[in-house]
């Protein structure tokens, strides 16, 4: 099955072609939806088969390359279109196809009645195709192909309802913003790829990584490469400073937010850092930078999420915050922990988004949580699954989020230091708080909507069954990564499974001293207490005593406004970067350079020719003797030339 891994990439492409070309003719939504979902399902089955096959192989043979064809071959640069099937890529492809399949099924219900139904599934399939290329590629070029492809699909899907109003513009503006900000990151990524080629003379993962171990290259080169690659990661995975597109991306349909902006595309940056772990590990200063940025982003985004009133915005900032955790893990050298969190986050964040979609669907497109309340009795299944997801993300003991987040916090403490752990734990508390604020305001308490105008109802089973499956995964998904202190020697299967991928990097990472099991359990307990207290506080405030929240927001009015307006980052970017560029283009480049100089030159040439021909016209007088005169003058000139060349 490993050798047929390319089918897992081709099937979604076939789905895209069928739905894209013929979708308009096929009026039946069920057929379109089935085609779209089954291709991803088949891809999942193939990935799973490859996974089982890889499990049966001995550990040192678990990285296999499946070559398709030679893509570029030019003067020493040889790029093959090939897929690397190893533990890391299999994990990612399972997540992508598995969660993707569930979201496809969910979309059949969510997008019911939309006139662009076929277009939606075509784009979704195209996205899966690009994402699979990204995670399976065996060289930087195929990865970049997938990278750009998911960016394109993100643009297409954010602007799916292209004429719908969204905040200050339309959804098309949000899509443009996403694409452009991504592009800035991609520029850094490209510089990194160029530098990699210059340094290692190859772009193939195996060759580059083995050379990175064996050759002695100075640290500045590694730092530059790592820095550029990380810039690309900040664009795609929404870290500071390039995160501004993700809240705006909520303009797209909710399944898009779930799939692309929670589970898969935004984790591409984490995957890339993980894949190139040896390059990052060789640049300790950049690792520190990654950890710090990840941490700051986590705290920053969590603080914004505390006060937002749009249900999807809260989840968007939550995603940014959790991505910060993943980068924190990568930055301190815990690459397998970051991938673990990718997996669990995919489960519960997708679940949160799909649940939100269910609520939005049931509340007739209302998205302001201040207009929700008491929906528990109208949407029981959504309520239950949402609760499970909220507990998972808060780190409730025993659920998947608990294991992954605690592993990150532990490594932050062990490899990074106390301050990393402290801020991480604080952010975890904020996470629990805002999630349960969201939960309480939506499902609990009294109803704040007009019952006569809005009739909330539960979603059809095609939407609730994926919710239930994701809820189950959110519960049990963490058990593959139980730390050693609980499960003894066989513990943390996940880490062991991924370890061979990170072996080269592990050798280069410094480990601070020796830590005991006692410290681990102590820290775990503290973070559990913090999380539970935050949950309780949130539940109390938003169900029993909302005055507390209002009083605090009044007392710290300035700070509250700062948070509500997202620290005015968008406005700062607009004034400092966007406006100067637009004004410069308009005044200087357009008015002056284009109109005046270039058009002036082109029109000027024509004018000069007209003037010259006007004056030459006067020679044609019609007088034969003048012509004879000119002939003689010509003869004189020719004779002159002959004399001079004699």
């Amino acid at each position: 099955m490993i050798n047929y891994i390319y089918l897992a990439v081709i099937f979604p492409l076939i789905g895209f072609l069928i739905n894209g070309l013929f979708g308009r003719k096929i009026k039946n939504e069920i057929i379109i939806g089935t085609i779209g979902s089954s291709t991803v399902g088949l891809a999942f089955i193939i990935s799973f088969g490859a996974f089982l096959q890889t499990l049966s192989l001995p550990v040192d043979q678990r990285a296999n390359t499946v070559e398709l064809f030679t893509w570029l071959s030019a003067n020493g640069l040889n790029i093959k279109f090939a897929y690397l099937v190893d533990q890391l890529s299999l994990t990612m492809s399972l997540i992508v196809t598995g969660v993707g399949f569930l979201i496809h099924v969910y979309s059949i219900g969510y997008m019911h009645g939309d006139k662009g139904f076929w277009r939606f599934f075509a784009y979704l399939n195209l996205f899966i195709f690009a994402m699979m290329n990204l995670v399976l590629g065996d060289n930087f070029v195929v990865l970049f192909l997938g990278w750009e492809g998911v960016g394109l699909c993100s643009y297409l899907l954010i602007g799916f309802w292209y004429d719908k109003k969204f905040e200050k513009g339309t959804t098309a503006d949000a899509a443009k913003k996403a694409f452009i900000v991504n592009r800035i990151g991609d520029f850094g990524f490209l510089l990194g790829i160029f530098l990699i080629y210059l340094t290692f003379d190859s772009l193939n993962f195996n060759e580059v990584f083995s050379k990175a171990q064996s050759l002695s290259i100075n640290e500045t080169t590694f730092s530059l490469i790592a820095l550029f690659l990380f810039i690309g990661a900040t664009g795609k995975s929404a870290q500071i400073p390039l995160y501004v597109w993700l809240p705006d991306a909520m303009a797209g349909p909710t399944p898009v937010s779930a799939l692309i902006h929670a589970a898969t595309m935004v984790t591409a940056g984490v995957y890339m850092v993980s894949r190139a772990s040896i390059l990052f590990a060789s640049a300790p200063s950049i690792m520190m930078l990654i950890a710090v940025i990840g941490l700051l982003t986590a705290l920053f985004a969590a603080s914004i999420g505390l006060v937002q009133n749009d249900i999807k915005k809260v989840l968007a900032y939550s995603t940014i915050s959790q991505l910060g955790y993943m980068f924190l893990a990568a930055g301190v050298g815990a690459f397998s922990a970051s991938i673990f969190h990718v997996m669990t986050h995919a489960f519960f964040k997708a679940l949160l988004f799909l649940g939100a979609g269910s609520v939005i669907h049931g509340m007739h497109e209302e998205q302001n949580i201040q207009n929700y309340g008491g929906l528990k009795k109208y949407m029981p299944k959504t309520y239950a699954t949402f609760l499970i997801a909220a507990l998972a993300i808060s780190g409730f003991p025993g659920l998947s989020g608990f294991f992954s987040k605690d592993e990150i916090l532990w490594y932050a403490y062990a490899n990074g230091g106390f301050i990393f752990w402290l801020i991480g734990a604080l952010t975890a508390m904020l996470t629990a708080f805002y999630v349960f604020r969201l939960f309480s305001l939506t499902f609990l308490g009294e109803e704040r909507f007009d019952h006569h105008k809005v009739h909330p109802h539960e979603s059809p089973s095609v939407m609730t069954i994926p919710l239930i499956i994701l809820a189950v995964l959110s519960v049990i998904g963490g058990y593959v990564g139980i730390p050693e202190i609980f499960s003894g020697e066989n513990g943390n299967l996940f880490e062991k499974w991924l370890a061979p991928v990170y072996e080269p990097a592990e050798q280069k990472i410094m480990h601070y001293g020796f830590h005991t099991h006692f410290q681990e359990i102590l820290l775990m307990t503290i973070s559990v207490i913090l999380a539970l207290s935050a949950i309780y506080f949130a539940l109390y405030v938003y169900t029993k005593n909302k005055n507390i929240a209002e009083n605090i927001s009044l007392r710290f009015r300035k700070f509250y406004n700062l948070l509500l307006n997202k620290y005015y980052v968008d406005e700062i970017y607009d004034a400092a970067i966007v406006k100067p560029i637009v004004t410069g283009s308009e005044k200087v480049l357009w008015k002056f350079t284009d109109s005046f100089i270039i058009d002036g030159i082109v029109n000027g040439v024509a004018k000069i020719i007209a003037i010259i021909s006007e004056s030459i016209r006067k020679i044609q007088t019609g007088i034969a003797q003048l012509y004879a005169f000119i002939i003689v003058a010509g003869i004189a000139a020719v004779l002159l030339w002959i004399i001079f060349t004699l």
Partner: protein, 171 residues
């Protein structure tokens, strides 16, 4: 040799002066007469070059026939004398004269200081043998026979054309 040089100088002077006079006379008949004088001088030069046949043909055809034709037409058309040669377009005419002089200087320079492929020296016996009427006739009727016949046709065509162009129209 003295006689030759003397004759050459006299004849060439006559030819040069008469040509200049020809273009400066206001009266057309005077111009024609000076041209005839020029032709006679040329005929003399041809004789100096031992080109007997050509000299005679020059007088018969050019001075005798063509110039007579010119004189007939001038008298037939009885045009007024040209007011003055350099009347209008004075600047252009001065410029034309200057240009002509310039070209003359250039060609003279080329003739004198050019690098011919071989130096030509006068060859008495050869030139005598070449210029006789027998020799010319032999060449005409053997090597240059076709041009000879074509020239005949040309003259026929010219005759017909001249008649048609100049005759009075039937009313």
């Amino acid at each position: 040799m003295n006689l030759q040089i003397l004759l050459f100088v006299i004849l060439s002077l006559i030819a040069a002066v008469s040509s200049v006079m020809m273009i400066t006379r206001r009266n057309a008949v005077m111009s024609a007469l000076f041209l005839i004088l020029n032709f006679f001088a040329l005929a003399g030069l041809y004789l100096l070059l031992n080109a007997q046949f050509i000299a005679v043909v020059q007088i018969i055809v050019y001075a005798g026939a063509i110039m007579v034709l010119f004189l007939f037409v001038i008298m037939l058309l009885r045009t007024d004398n040209e007011p003055s040669i350099l009347n209008n377009n004075k600047s252009l005419k001065y410029f034309a004269i200057a240009l002509g002089a310039f070209v003359f200087i250039q060609v003279a320079y080329l003739i004198s200081y050019g690098r011919p492929s071989r130096k030509l020296t006068p060859n008495e016996e050869l030139s005598v043998k070449v210029g006789t009427i027998q020799n010319i006739g032999k060449e005409l009727y053997t090597n240059y026979f076709i041009p000879f016949e074509v020239a005949g046709f040309l003259l026929l065509a010219a005759t017909i054309g001249a008649i048609i162009l100049a005759k009075k129209k039937f009313e």
